[in-house]
Amino acid sequence: MSEVIVVTSGKGGVGKTTVTANIGCGLAMLGYKVVLVDADTGLRNLDVVLGMENRIVFDLTDVIEEKCRLRQALIKDRRFEELFLLPTAQTKDKSAVTPKDMQNICSQLREHFDYVIVDSPAGIEQGFQSAVAGVEKAIVVTVPEVAAVRDADRVVGLLEAKAEIRDPKLIINRLRMQMVQRGDMMTLEDMHDILGLELLGVIPDDEQVVIATNRGDPIVINENSLSGRAFKDIVRRMLGEPVPLMNLENGEGFFNRLRRIIGLG
């Protein structure tokens, strides 16, 4: 049985494309057949994050305009046998892909893949509406800041109202451990409280993510990085394994140690 999932956020720049690339690679590393669909027409990024930008011949809009067949537009990953990208057009705008088109494409893809993962554009307008049209599940990405969490809440409301997608899962990205420890960043518990969504995982703010993206190799491939392990854990949770959350919040800081020592902790 295949799953069709959108990765979305409301607010821009919080890590949708990074999450899409990493969970896609993570699932493919375990042998699942995965296709990643870039729904950010006009601002495509997924190809670059995956290191596939030089191999695009046809894209999503060519398929819609019947300039090529669907399978001709799929780009096969060089690292993982079962990972594919369906890129979108960089020189068109969001109106080139309608919700109807996406329903059509997703229902064809699900015949051939275990996972179809759609990278949504920021915002709640037409591009978002199309991105969610053909899916049945959603992952909402946010960062621990007021504006991003607020927008995430809005998106959750729209997913339910417009697309009948219930119980989206939450990923909190770019958590900064030192800031949490000194009380300057909302905790996982805070955000779970406020949004009321099941937490799929948390990714630390990690410069390794940027370095990996520079190279076009998603961080999940790197066994030794904290963020790479966080993505692996997320993938395992998606498969139904009960993996405990990484403890990113309660490192033994100086104050913790002092508190314990003088018996306040």
Binding site: D184, M186, D190
Partner: protein
């Protein structure tokens, strides 16, 4: 002094995250109500039904809104009353 120590040691979180959480909580009360105006309408209908058991009200003049004051959000209702009903158990 003890208070100061506790704060220094992070017992009472002096950081900005509690401010963030509180602001978020308030703003979401509004946002969520805005996303579904139906919710306020349903609430209005129910209120009319309940209040009408006790008094005759002017349904057209009824207003129910969420209003925000400093640190909380309040449900503010204005309900013009035309006439009190004589209910069993009411001595008047």
């Amino acid at each position: 002094m003890l208070d100061f120590l506790a704060r220094l040691l992070g017992r009472e979180s002096p950081g900005s995250k509690n401010v963030a959480k509180e602001r978020l909580r308030l703003v979401l009360v509004h946002d969520r109500a805005g996303v579904s105006p139906q919710l306020l309408q349903l609430l209005k209908n129910d209120m009319v039904e309940v209040i009408s058991k006790y008094m005759e009200i002017d349904e057209k003049g009824l207003s129910v809104n969420l209003e925000r004051a400093d640190n909380q959000v309040a449900l503010v209702a204005s309900i013009p009353v035309k006439k009190m009903k004589r209910v069993a158990g009411n001595p008047a």
